[in-house]
Amino acid sequence: MTSKRISSPALRRRQVLGGAGAFVLAAILPAGRSRGAGMLVEDATASFAPNAYIRIGSDNIVTMILPNIEMGQGIYTSSVMLMAEELGIDPQSVRIEAAPPGGGAEITGGSTSSMTEWMPLRQAGAAARTMLQQAAAARWSCAPGACVAQDGYILGPTGQRLSYGELAADAANLPVPKDVVLKTPAQFRLIGRPMHRLDSQVKVDGQAMFGIDVQVPGQKVGAVAACPVIGGHVGHVDTQAALKIRGVVAVLQIDDAVCVVADHYWAARKGLAALDVQWVEGPNATVDTQAIYRQLEGGLSSSAILADHHGDAQQAITQAHGRYSATYRQPLLAHATMEPINCTIHVRPDGCDIWTGTQVAERARDTTAEVTGLPKDRIRLHSQYIGGGFGRRLEHEYVTQAARFGRQVSHPLKIIWSREEDITRDRFRPAYLDHLEAGLDERGYITGLTHRIVGPAVVARWEPSGLGANGYDDDLSVGTVITPYTYPAYRLEFARREPPGVITAWWRGVGGTRGLFVVEGFIDELAQRAGVDPVAYRREMVRNNPRALAVLERVARESGWGTPLPPNCGRGVALQFAFGSYLATVAEIEMAGPHDVRIRRVTCAVDCGQVINPDQIAAQIEGGLIFGFSAALYNEITLEKGRVQQDNFHTWRVMRMNEAPGRIDVHLIESTESPGGIGETGTAAAAPALANAMAAVQKRRYRFLPLLSPLNQPSGHEKEQQG
């Protein structure tokens, strides 16, 4: 999604948790589990709480409450760095706590975390530091400006020294300053320098608590099966055999799902296997993949929404020296986060606790209030580490489901979706069909470009107010309207088609991932048509865009673009401006045969503005690329009789280490622009860079995803129109 819909976290005073919060924490920590660095705490009741994010106790313990949720992107580390930079403390000494619903960002997603935190968290740190300086100055009767904050101490003009803990009580009585002075980049000691992740230790020790690891005293575990056809419901259920399984205590039902509850998950799974459920499959029981693609094809020639335009692109094409068009197709995609969907809930008459990993804590809380009839302030949501987000946990239907099952029992209930349930009942990245036509000048460069997107508007379901007045979902602008290129004339159309039988949702780099595969593929085709080197062609197109030009030149140099390669090898390039960052990517591959793709090397040059933690930029791009390559090569969700046909890693293939690139080099371009997003840029770059490389080796275009689809073979569906 684009950044504009993500509301900034407000600097508001957070409700202090009652004793119950601390009690729960103690209860869920198994004996011997330490509260070491990186463990999420949930009991920050401290004397000094200048804002929503910082707590300093008289015991000198500094706790930071982190507005965006950690799902691998390293946001806890960079959030702490931003605050610690201004506060003047060692980030490694900080305790961390996930913000409760209403206390942080409404939503973690869209590669917006660093963008939205850049100012507020530094201001929060600076405000706390200012108040500590004022408190010290009052003790020493000197000017606050004469007091220096350093490594957890305020140092006075004549060698005095007080720890933050010693000053906390005094500082708490001071008014929160409205305007604070922030450090200049030249004064940064943390920002822009590599720092080890704060969550690494607990994650390598196996101590990090993910949602699925939560253990609440008295909890039972539920194995869930929902109707395999979306829109269907539970018909007859025979519980006799299931209840005979040792350890099974109950079989619960809601309209579209059943849950076998047991002492442990294996007993629940056996109970679920023994349960005889007749599903009433409903109208979607006839949907298959071809029906979805046929529906998209209908949108290529129907009426459409005019999403964006400048100049008269159609006239430019009509009058052009040459014309070129192509149609691209992309499939439904699952998320398949390594941590399968789960949620633990304890619904009581007077309140409710939820332990889960979610990118939308407020929504999850609110829906639980609706289901249970409890007021929102009686519902506590305890955010856990997320074992992979990728947009999956921007949905919260599993929390709703847990609440609907959980309200039927008095004990805490943990529901776990099997991997099969996790994939078949995922909410999928939509399938799209894109048609582009370009008018070209004598040299083969664009004079006018029309682009039609056929597919759903994810935002219309997810956040209806985000849908444009004309029915456009501006997530589709990433990689299309938002681009490093300027076209003399441009027209973007959107024919909205909501597919039957599936629910579509966000996915890592949604708009950028879908848009760039199409646009960067098409530009590569134009370069090929013009007989111009793909890098040179793009260089010409961005000659007035210095940031884009810089990443392109850098990647060409670092990748050895144009240097000779062994037989069956080739390179592909992709250039992008997405999520506020510029990225140029070169994939170098070898193809021993049309089915055997080895990615020898990937080189990226990135300008993502001011960098907080440079090594984590590289980590996000490396991981994002592999996530994108995996989908680009292998993945497509298909349906038959309304049922999803992929259900585990033998049918939903994920790139393995021996299929991953031989090396990935990420080159950061120094920049003082505001931070851009990074978590999704690599994923967006993967498919176009790889497809363009495959096209270079195989001498034919790859317009369908997944790239190894038979549709991309010489006998497959390929039509070109040249004028």
Partner: protein, 156 residues
């Protein structure tokens, strides 16, 4: 009652013999460092050691193990020098992202390095390609294992 040796301790569990070790660890013994990912031995996040071999605990029925096999989980590596070296390498180059697969990756890496202290890249890939990572940390896992091997080679 079945008797198992887990992290050097003898424990008795009252479960059906077809119960996978994974769920005994997680739901009966409360040891949640070992993760559930696929249930079909395809992803490796549930990897533990049984007599030194990396096995997928999701597909190992406890009834097949017996009371004498030494089961080691991610929680049971405190005194293990190879484990310490592996963890240090993981921390040094910040391998983890979401971290969910990492206990399994680390268990696989330790078993690999104990069997082959100085593995070639092919041996690293053969030993580690059964372990999926959705965040895509493979580049750094590879590098971390190479670093352990290099460090061990330097100080035999």
């Amino acid at each position: 009652m079945l008797t198992l040796q887990i992290n050097g301790k003898s424990v008795e569990v009252d479960v059906d013999p077809d119960t996978p070790l994974l769920w005994v660890l997680r739901d009966v013994l409360g040891m949640t460092g070992t993760k559930y990912g696929c249930g079909t031995a395809e992803c490796g996040v549930c990897t533990v050691h049984v007599d030194g071999r990396p096995v997928r605990s999701c597909s190992l029925p406890v009834g097949l193990i017996g009371p004498r096999k030494a089961i080691i989980t991610i929680e049971g590596l405190q005194a293990d020098p190879v484990a310490a070296a592996v963890r240090k390498a993981w921390l040094d180059i910040d391998v983890v992202q979401c971290g969910y697969c990492q206990p399994g990756q680390i268990m696989a890496a330790i078993a690999l390095l104990k069997k082959i202290p100085n593995p070639t890249d092919e041996q690293i890939e053969a030993g580690m390609s059964g372990n999926l990572c959705r965040c895509g940390t493979y580049m750094r896992i590879r590098a971390a294992i190479r670093n352990v091997a290099a460090a061990q080679g330097a100080t035999p």
